[in-house]
Symmetry: C2
Subunit: 686 residues, 2 copies
């Protein structure tokens, strides 16, 4: 639980504050002072009577009561006792421990850490850290690192599981003009982790005052359901979230585990969770900062951009970079386009990219933006590329850009490629609250990531299934793979079509079976174990005459007790699977069978419960999607029905969370006729 004292402390004690600002305990006090903290500051340092102008207490026992927040920058082994005094005797309920040497280092450290957490939990307190850089927000800079970003309540809220990575991201952000509202370095997350801070941001969200942009850096996801819930909730309230989950590869996750001592998080779960929550997944610092910079602009409603440039090359590279996405650079034509052209110098082009040449002026830029904003209905947003060859200042150009960005309803993304020639102009532009994109191709990649991230699925409606039957079967079953007839019953209860089958022992039963199963048929002798060896399987039986002839032959095979009739199925090989991934819950997989899954690993995933939209997207995102649509004269597969079966598998998993793993493989599809041919279900009750 995050207590208000952690967020907005009226008083802070820094235990281990120092006059040496090259030490964390010295620097954190300096940062708090530089940041103009308005509350009361207390200092504990046994070696000094005065620290940076403040009276220093010799020991924590001497402190007054009623201090809101304690920041500890003392050796790890001293922390547990100190916390005990502060929490139990002095009534402090909010703690930031920046000291290292805890669970990240050794078992002894882990024990110290546990003592601290137990103490703080016993008083219902909050703990950030240990092994963190601290907390920075609009109220105080309880962080020992620099650079300190300028405070902007509408800047990014940034939660990082790595202090150093946080510093590097802030450094890069500041060179781009990306502002921050808060930074939480959670360190070892001994008590409060990334998910808990996000929960707090959700629960205290104020649409008028809270920042709408959240950035996360994580190396594991300990509480996936909490992350999912609050990310979805925040996004549904108008926030945008981008996150790095480092350690997605096997090698990377090993590196992360050795670095944090944390459990390895299954990346398939992270991917599914981020998609479901609507979190834009990033893979590096530059990408995170680029996506965050895009978030600082008005949202792009639609997919059509105008590229406005005074230099051809970057516009071509940007067009290239967007060409593999759904974002379009539509042609701009017609009377109004000609009218716009008349304002530009000879040689200019308005046919998107709008190239107004190296000699293009601020005034022309303003006119172009106005036309894109007001006259061109097929334009949803603008990218303005403007640098300088260094001949003269371009304050006027960037001022026009600034003013238009304030007044236009459509988003305007500024690509400012020059940091040396027009450093002053860029800094002036940034100082007005804007963000700079230095590279058009990296911008394009970020924009595509944002565009391709689905909206969170909040009220998911699953198909109705027979829950009572399912619960009954599951409750009666032991752990392990279910018997085939129970699998069939579960599929039936979940409304998942499967290949019809009937065991017949006489001609009368054959007549009844033929009312349900159509030719061509497959016949399999029942009884003998090795059916094929004894000639007990007949394929492609096309009529009654052949059926009866084969029936009598099969019934004469030794040990035969009956004959199983199934329709002879053909169609596109599909599969649907479900697997429990710990706290993430069930991941539903779907795809094309055969070589597509074997050779191309053509599998799409979603976190259960799977909405219809998600199921349809899974299908559309398959590499072999054209097969579903039908190629080479084949009929293909009805997407709506395939999606419905994916949803039914998800509904089955929700009803029976004891299913640890299941798969329907193959599922054969021809048009709207999609049936499960084989399925396995594994139960693991705790």
């Amino acid at each position: 639980m995050i207590r208000p004292e952690l967020i907005n402390p009226k008083s802070i004690v820094i235990v281990g504050a120092s006059n040496n600002v090259q030490k964390p305990g010295g620097k954190i006090l300096k940062n708090i002072l530089d940041h103009k903290y308005k509350g009361q500051i207390y200092i504990v340092n046994p070696n000094s009577s005065e620290v940076q102008g403040f009276k220093s207490y010799q020991k924590v026992d001497d402190l007054p009561d009623q201090i809101d927040l304690a920041i500890l920058a003392i050796p790890a082994h001293l922390c547990p006792d100190t916390v005990e005094i502060l929490a139990l005797q002095k009534g402090i309920k909010a703690f930031i421990i920046i000291s290292a040497g805890f669970s990240e280092e050794s078992n002894e450290g882990a024990k110290l850490e546990k003592r601290i957490v137990d103490t703080i939990n016993s008083v219902g307190g909050s703990l950030i850290g240990p092994n963190c850089t601290g907390v920075f927000n609009t109220n105080y800079a309880g962080i020992f690192t620099t650079p300190l970003p300028e405070i902007n309540p509408q800047g990014c809220d940034f939660i990082t599981a790595s202090g150093a990575t946080g510093v590097f991201i802030v450094d890069l952000s500041m060179t781009r003009g990306l502002p921050f509202s808060s930074i939480y370095s959670v360190g070892n997350s001994a008590q409060l982790g990334v998910e808990d801070i996000l929960e707090y941001m959700d629960e205290t969200f104020d649409p008028d005052k809270s920042s709408k942009v959240k950035l996360l850096y994580m190396e594991n996801v300990k509480k996936p359901q909490k992350l999912l819930k609050h990310a979805q909730s925040l996004i549904s309230k108008g926030c945008r979230i981008a996150a790095i989950k480092a350690g997605y590869s096997e090698a990377g996750s090993r590196a992360a585990a050795s670095h944090t001592g944390a459990m390895i998080t299954p990346d398939i779960g992270v991917d599914a969770l981020f998609k479901k929550a609507g979190i834009v997944r990033c893979y590096g610092r530059d990408e995170l900062v680029t996506v965050a910079s895009i978030f600082m602009h008005k949202e792009l409603i639609g997919n059509q951009l105008a590229i406005i440039t005074h230099a051809g090359g970057p516009a071509v590279m940007l067009t290239d970079a967007l060409s593999h996405s759904e974002i379009e650079i539509p042609p701009i034509k017609g009377e109004k386009a000609q009218e716009l052209l008349s304002y530009l110098f000879p040689g200019s082009s308005v046919n998107n990219p709008i190239d107004f040449l190296a000699t293009g002026t601020a005034e022309q830029l303003g006119i172009i933006i106005d036309y894109c904003e007001k006259e061109f209905d097929n334009i949803d947003g603008m990218v303005v590329i403007f640098g300088s060859p260094g001949l003269f200042p371009i304050f006027d150009v960037y001022n026009v850009l600034h003013e238009k960005m304030l007044t236009c309803k459509k988003p305007i993304y500024p690509i400012l490629p020059c940091s040396i020639n027009v450093a002053d102009e860029v800094n002036d532009f940034i100082s007005k609250g804007h963000v700079r994109f230095p590279d058009e191709v990296l911008f394009a990649k970020g924009l595509i990531s944002v565009y391709n991230t689905p909206k969170p699925q909040l009220h998911i409606k699953l198909p109705e299934i027979d829950k009572n039957t399912i619960r009954h079967i599951i409750d009666m079953s032991d752990n392990g793979f279910l018997a085939p007839h129970l699998v069939s019953q579960l599929l039936d209860a979940a409304g998942i079509p499967r290949a019809k089958e009937k065991v017949v022992t006489n001609e009368n039963e054959i007549d009844i079976a033929l009312k349900e199963i159509q030719y061509p048929l497959v016949m399999k002798v029942v009884g003998p174990i090795h059916k094929t060896d004894v000639g007990g399987v007949v394929l492609n039986v096309k009529n009654k005459e052949q059926l009866l002839k084969e029936f009598h032959r099969l019934m004469h095979i030794k040990d035969a007790t009956g004959v199983l009739l199934q329709p002879m199925l053909t169609g596109t090989e599909l599969f649907i699977g479900g697997k429990k991934e710990g706290e993430f819950g069930h991941i539903v997989t779907a795809g094309l069978g055969g070589i597509f899954v074997e050779v191309l690993k053509d599998i799409q995933i979603a976190l259960s419960p799977v909405s219809l939209e998600e199921a349809l997207n899974m299908i559309k995102n398959l590499k072999g999607y054209k097969i579903i649509k039908g190629v080479r004269g084949s009929e293909g597969v009805d997407e709506q029905i395939f999606a419905n079966i994916i949803q039914r598998v998800s509904a089955l998993l929700i009803t029976a969370p004891e299913i640890s793993e299941m798969d329907i493989n193959p599922l054969l599809g021809t048009g709207s006729n999609i049936v499960a041919v084989d399925a396995r279900i594994n139960i693991q009750k705790n």
Copy 2:
């Protein structure tokens, strides 16, 4: 032709030089002076008697003879006459025309441009431009843009078809510390284009003095064979080349065409050419600068890196980013690893990434690098990640890095993520001749691009084929698709196996045919047109008894004149194609047939002639490569033989350049048995 006067002029006249340094004509003079040009400078400006301290001639007629180079910064319409006087009367043979308003703007401009080129050609002169920013090299800064990079003869040689893009790339490079040896802005390439400058660099290459790094920015490739030849040659001399060819997408190439008025270059040709030449293809400015920065380091021999870091997060992200490539972060273990660990603080890890913690010192960094250099045989290169949380200066760390980079044989790539906290340290490091990588993930992408670019294939040996027969058939053929029997003859002459076929009319002929064609067979009646309708096709004939029985039946069909015997072929569907792409020559394509090409566009390409290594790489890079290796119990396809057939197609295309297009589809492969089943060849003689 590039004349020496263009590269190293003893005297320069600037026509249109001005006192106003906000104008190109004023700025170019200022740049030449700032750059400390040692030769004679002449000025022509009718409106001033003195320009920036130099006597100004009123008209070009007044100039003395024997000036080496003329730089024109005057309106386009004045250029042709001016050039005429300078070239014909004053004997000037080297020109840089920075003025715009030529072929890039209008037909009138194109005419002016042509007059200039004709004049300069008539005296055997050289022309850079028009519509360019100029030329910068160790001898002079004949360029009107800033920033001017510091000169470093071992820096990059950079040829750009877009002046503004060149400025933006130089700006970014300078913030990273990337040095330049020369910059050529070729503008409209009216006479000299990117390829010609590269040719010059190749022909004048001095292994002791010339820069080893070449960077290109192109929007079209006018002279692909020239580019290929000299890029290959330079790389074989030890150079490394990276290039952007913008306009690779359809939308992008349209944007480039509207911007330059140039022809659209087929991107498949560019891709094949870059691969063959060994040029690292880049798609954006940041990527080009990153790859160039990698080039400035010692070459990575091998594929195993040590990541040395004082911060866990970036090391994890770097490990992730490299995980999809062949570059490995191998575990570091054993006695020496334990020895190294003893030098580091508790909690450090040496099991690669080597994490020596936030408290890690310069001395420790030096020890770690020494161990990687000398003790760990499985390490081929190092990445050092070191930033700062801002507590104290880290000059000592970057000095160790600097010294080790000079002395170590293995490459050391410095990732320096902080540009604010340790700006002075970073600048000091750069000033010592190093380059900074700010982002580990973007670095990884660049390194992977470099690693994946094949070495140029210089002395390609193609299989022996029957050239006489091929030439005879081609010479006798008209334009259009060749008749099937001629296609068969060409395949035979090229040594490309095709499905055997024999027409037999009696049992004796059957015996002869069976020496060449193995069971199972396909039998087709010869004579009747609709063979299937008359029961004239028999599949899967497995033995002599069946064959004879069916033979006699088929010969009794009305109009039967014989029976065609073919082997009953099964196997993996493959294809090989060839297509002439203008001046690029023939592009050879290969891949898997069926859904792989139809659904997944799984096609690999190479520029003919195709080496064995290239052919094998084409096969290995197929998405469906696992099919070639054999999956689901299938035998797969012999890669060496498939590659040999690809080479034979290439040899056929080299022998018969009149083939505009051909394809062998399907080509059926089972193990070493790969045969063409169907083929088409189209001839287009000029």
